[in-house]
């Protein structure tokens, strides 16, 4: 969608109605396009760890992968209503989501991480968030994790569609909570003055969710088999090394 010229894509889409998801060998993959380095845009080119993984899955399973970008909080709704077939956006497996969707095997093992402005030593991990303002992405699992903390009512949780790193760097909030690997990557690659605060406080497993119906499960099985193959032949590790200089696709 992003690679074709915007106009032709739009006119085609406007005339044909939206892409109907689940056409035999097409897999419509939803992502935010705003979650560095998993899914982001540079010079109109959608790229990142998720993009590489899905392209490899498509090649392995013989599927045409079509990427649809939309705001993060709209992704789950789009999956439910069939606008997209799956979400490649570090979707963490939670009991609530498992009740609703059919997940593949986890392809990223990660942890929840508190990040604060560089030099702010008042924030040194999840315990020190009492009485602080903390930014999280709206509808993300990290929002859930924060709300489940025993002292959640003492934290001022602010939900955002995007730009949580920027607001923390500007000092508008005391910290943000995101996954460990992208936090480390943002600190390394971006010009923003940020630092990790303490150790990861919760292990999270991320997978691809599909609709829990016959077609959805069939597609899930196909993609899951492809993930197994990519894990065995080292492709997943290779993609992970490319983006993170380490293997985030297996448990330690």
């Amino acid at each position: 969608m992003l690679r074709t010229t915007a106009l032709t894509a739009v006119i085609a889409a406007a005339l044909a109605g939206s892409v109907t998801a689940q056409e035999n060998d097409t897999l419509v993959v939803g992502m935010s396009g705003g979650y560095f380095p998993f899914t982001f845009v540079n010079q109109n080119e959608l790229q990142g760890f998720e993009v590489d993984v899905m392209n490899a899955v498509g090649e392995e399973a013989g599927l045409d992968i079509e990427f649809e970008t939309m705001s993060f909080s709209g992704l789950v709704g789009a999956l439910e209503t069939g606008r997209i077939d799956t979400i490649a956006n570090q979707i963490t497996i939670t009991p609530e989501r498992e009740a609703k969707f059919a997940f593949t095997q986890p392809y990223v093992i990660d942890g929840a991480q508190v990040v604060t402005r560089e030099g702010n030593d008042e924030v040194a991990g999840v315990e020190s968030l009492r009485g602080k303002t903390v930014a999280v992405n709206l509808g993300s699992n990290f929002e859930q994790l924060l709300r489940e903390l025993p002292f959640a009512d003492e934290i001022d949780i602010r939900t955002y569609e995007s730009n949580i790193e920027q607001d923390t760097a500007l000092g508008r909030v005391d910290a943000f909570v995101m996954d460990r690997v992208s936090s480390a990557q943002v600190i390394k690659e971006s010009p923003l003055p940020l630092q990790l605060a303490g150790a990861p406080f919760s292990e999270i497993r991320n997978a691809l969710p599909f609709r829990n119906d016959e077609d959805g499960q069939a597609m899930r099985d196909r993609v899951d088999a492809a993930l197994t193959a990519l894990r065995e032949d080292g492709t997943l590790t290779e993609i992970s090394e490319k983006w993170f200089d380490s293997d985030i696709t297996t448990a330690e």
């Binding site: 969608m1 010079q43 970008t69 939309m70």
Partner: protein, 224 residues
């Protein structure tokens, strides 16, 4: 105060420019549809039809009385929950629909004011030479009303172009959405949003020049 990354901004210009056609596409389609709808609404308000008149007033009241962003969210995220066939509507279509309904309510009012603003003597003169209602509207009233309404309608079109930026909240990658995504990878927010702002500004300036020419043209019969 850090220095601006000018190279990055220059590199971003063609990227954002490639979304200008999409922005104009949404605005032009919505403008055409809104003009048609607004004309019907305005003519109904000038020659009221019982019951229908009440519905038209309700329509205009709602779409002028609620924010465009709320209307867009109602269409795109809200309505599909109660009418499942609406899930087939994509973001671009929803944005065009929202812009059409929202702006047609405003435009209907300015067209109505322009029609009723045509001097009474003109109506009477048209009737006295035996014109039908339709002939009178088409030949005498509407051409004069158009002259009065045109500048306002161009203003609404300019407003509409800028309002298409809200489509990014429906997941449409247009100029604003593209800038937001580029910034998410580079973290150079100021540069990305500045490029977008300047490009919008240039588009609107070009249109304002066109607006001046159009006014001169429409006023040619009145030029002394």
């Amino acid at each position: 105060m850090r220095a601006l990354d000018l190279d990055y901004m220059l590199g971003l210009v063609p990227v954002i420019l490639s979304y200008v056609p999409l922005t104009l596409f949404m605005a032009v389609v919505a403008m055409i549809l809104a003009l048609i709808l607004a004309s019907f609404l305005a003519i109904e308000r000038v020659f009221p039809v019982p019951v229908l008149d009440w519905l038209v007033m309700l329509f205009i009241s709602f779409f002028r009385g609620t924010p465009l962003l709320v209307q867009l969210f109602l269409f795109y995220y809200g309505l599909p929950q109660v009418m499942s066939f609406l899930t087939q509507i994509n973001g671009v279509t929803a944005a065009i629909m929202g812009l059409t309904l929202h702006f047609s309510a405003y435009m209907a009012e300015s067209i109505r004011a322009a029609i009723t603003g045509v001097d009474r003597s003109q109506w009477e003169a048209a009737r006295s030479i035996g014109m039908t209602q339709w002939q009178m509207m088409r030949r005498i009233i509407l051409p004069q009303a158009a002259r009065v309404a045109a500048p306002t309608l161009v203003n609404y079109f300019i407003d509409m172009i800028k309002s298409t930026s809200l489509a990014f909240t429906l997941g449409v990658t247009e100029m604003m959405g593209a800038a937001q995504k580029e910034a998410a990878g580079s973290f150079l927010y100021f540069e990305a949003f500045l490029v977008v702002a300047v490009i919008y500004w240039i588009i609107v300036e070009l249109l304002s020049q066109g607006q001046k020419r159009l006014e001169t043209y429409l006023n040619r019969a009145y030029a002394r």
